[in-house]
Assembly symmetry: C2
Homo-oligomer: 385 residues x 2
């Protein structure tokens, strides 16, 4: 196990009816901006629950934060925060709303061009408006970490920043808020959480038994419960297990003392930035290709994964690794997320644009060994056609 | 899964050499009291490392905190804190030193009889001196939770309190500090962490898949690594896996949305209070007896445990539960911790004293169903003779 520092101060309120906890978390003297996305929280009753809990609080609203939240939109929110003297941000939505709200929180306190926050990967952030979350989509884990991914639509840049100043003070996770999600969003969320786990697990062994067991537990949970909620969207237990698994997949515990890959995410982000594919779709395309390309280096963990999650133990190590990759592709397809670029009308012609964006963003040494350069990305994307 | 609130703000610095992080956590303007136990930190080099990291800080020392820390000893430390105007407490030791330091932290700020802190289970605590830890024994999990167990020697009372005010701000976990532990302390620690996990796992199913998988991962880790460190005390990987498993076993994650038993701990604490057995010894005696006594109510989880940890799947559910209990007893014995009262020279004569203490302390409805009264405790202890 490698050395590590772990710190996660976010308070989680989990379960049915927990939106009422907002009345304890937010005091009447605060001026609160509720941030949200396309407005589904208005039709599914979540916004009503939020407002009921905050009936004694001065609240403002900022809607329209899009999937892969746009820098341009978030700039407008920052203006509202400043104009209305907002002192607390409440993100009500999924990972995009929460990520966007983290940027608003940091941007509203930053003196200068807020794009610096992204360019510095968060290094320039020294203060932020405090924020909390009401999560309505189990997927990104943003509700319990300090990272945010923002897209600059104008230049097709999708990039992350991290800062301890944008840790949510609290997050409410009520699985019932996810009952009314479209199947595609549910499936994208399950695939996202599954791939977050794999990014921190399919690397090379460092004899971190607790972390490995947790990763395998999250993967098994998502694999078993994912298909259930596509079948029955109001299966509370399955929604609850998925929601907690997705949060646990990216709250820092899996990465304690272990290497991380993250090539899939960094490549996938460029594809979303350039061509608008859903985040989950890009992960389902890229991860199998990364594994095929780095099968030898990842063999030991692929074999461990094959046994622990798919009960695959027969054959040579190379064959077991192949079977594990196929099982993973089949799972993504079972969730309704296609795993080839061609499924989305894209082909080899996109490869130069993707590698150029990676170079532009300085992402030129990807993977747990830092040995995937843009040249290797070009080669591995050939395996995803 | 049941509703829950989870919050754990403790920062963990884990690994070789991490004691040097104290220089970042504690600033030169602080007046620090280092608390410790019998003095092993002076011979194994840990105190030297601590002092080197704090060379620019004003430090005081308070040693002699005993196993099952005595209220009477801690009162003396509180006087030192007040006299020397201490503004930070650094616990250097195992669970007893950390638990004792939590009591010192709360007691130094409490206006009144500090035994109120115990009597109220922490309810009267509204402030505490901030504290950090350098852990030297993997066992209790106290380094990443807000609970403390204190013993009043005069009246043979061993009781716990909890308060968010005594959460460690940080804890340093360097597995190398555990290399020189006597085998009995190492074994007690492994058994303690193993039983902490079981208290939160062998109850009844609530379909909490992530929590169950984490519990099974911790149990498998402790079961596999425990015997290794008895064989080779300087096996870094095994020490590291045990240390992180012990912390994860009682940092609140296992109890998210799940029932807890804790009958074994509450009964065991009375036995320690009255007869001075090691904490780990009492757990190894009591838990198998609780399981035998409540085998039917715990059958589903015993069967799940049997398969996940001991690979036992053959036979009726009742037989599998029996086999799981036997496997657990064998594991404790393999670690060198005896599992019968008779092994410690105690017999049925202690039962009335134990049940009288439970009644005196108001612990009259134990277990995940609250259905183990002192009468049931008397019956189940007959199974531990």
């Amino acid at each position: 196990m490698d050395n590590f520092t772990f710190h996660n101060p976010a308070r989680i309120h989990f379960g049915r009816g927990q939106i009422s906890q907002l009345a304890n978390e937010i005091t009447p003297d605060m001026r609160v901006l509720i941030t949200y996305g396309g407005g589904s929280i208005k039709t599914n009753g979540v916004l009503d629950q939020v407002k009921a809990a905050l009936k004694d609080v001065t609240v403002f609203e900022f809607g329209g934060i899009e999937p892969n939240p746009h820098y341009e939109t978030l700039q407008k929110a920052i203006e509202v925060v400043k104009a209305e003297k907002i002192d607390f941000l409440l993100a009500v939505g999924g990972g995009s709303v929460i990520d966007g709200t983290k940027f608003i929180a940091a941007g509203a306190k930053y003196q200068g061009d807020t794009w610096d926050i992204i360019e510095s990967r968060g290094g320039v952030v020294t203060d932020a408006i405090p924020l909390g979350c009401v999560l309505t989509l189990a997927a990104t884990g943003s509700e319990m970490n300090s990272t945010s991914v923002v897209t600059r639509a104008e230049t097709q840049d999708k990039l992350f920043f991290s800062s301890s100043h944008v840790f949510p003070l609290f997050s409410v996770l009520d699985p019932e808020t996810t009952y009314t999600l479209p199947p595609r969003q549910t499936a994208n969320g399950v695939v996202d959480a599954y791939v977050h786990t794999l990014e921190q697990y399919i690397t090379y062994p460092v004899n971190a038994k607790v972390q490995d067991a947790l990763a395998e537990g999250l993967l098994n949970t998502l694999k078993e419960e994912g298909p259930k909620v596509l079948e029955n969207p109001t299966d509370y237990d399955a929604r609850a297990n998925i929601m907690w698994a997705a949060t646990m997949a990216l709250n820092g515990l899996l990465s304690t003392g272990t290497p991380g890959d993250w090539a899939t995410h960094l490549i996938g982000q460029e594809i979303t930035g350039l061509y608008g594919l859903d985040h989950g779709q890009t992960l389902a395309i890229v991860m199998p290709a990364v594994w095929k390309y780095r099968k030898a280096a990842k063999q030991a963990k692929l074999v461990q994964y094959a046994a622990a999650v798919w009960n695959i133990t027969e054959g040579s190590a190379d064959s077991i690794a192949d079977q594990a990759i196929t099982a993973t592709e089949n799972f993504f397809e079972q969730m309704g997320i296609k795993t080839r670029l061609a499924d989305y009308g894209l082909g080899a012609e996109i490869i130069p644009a993707v590698t150029a964006k990676l170079e532009e963003h300085g992402h030129v040494a990807l993977g747990e060994h830092g040995d995937i350069t843009p040249k290797e990305v070009a080669e591995l994307l050939e395996l995803a056609l």
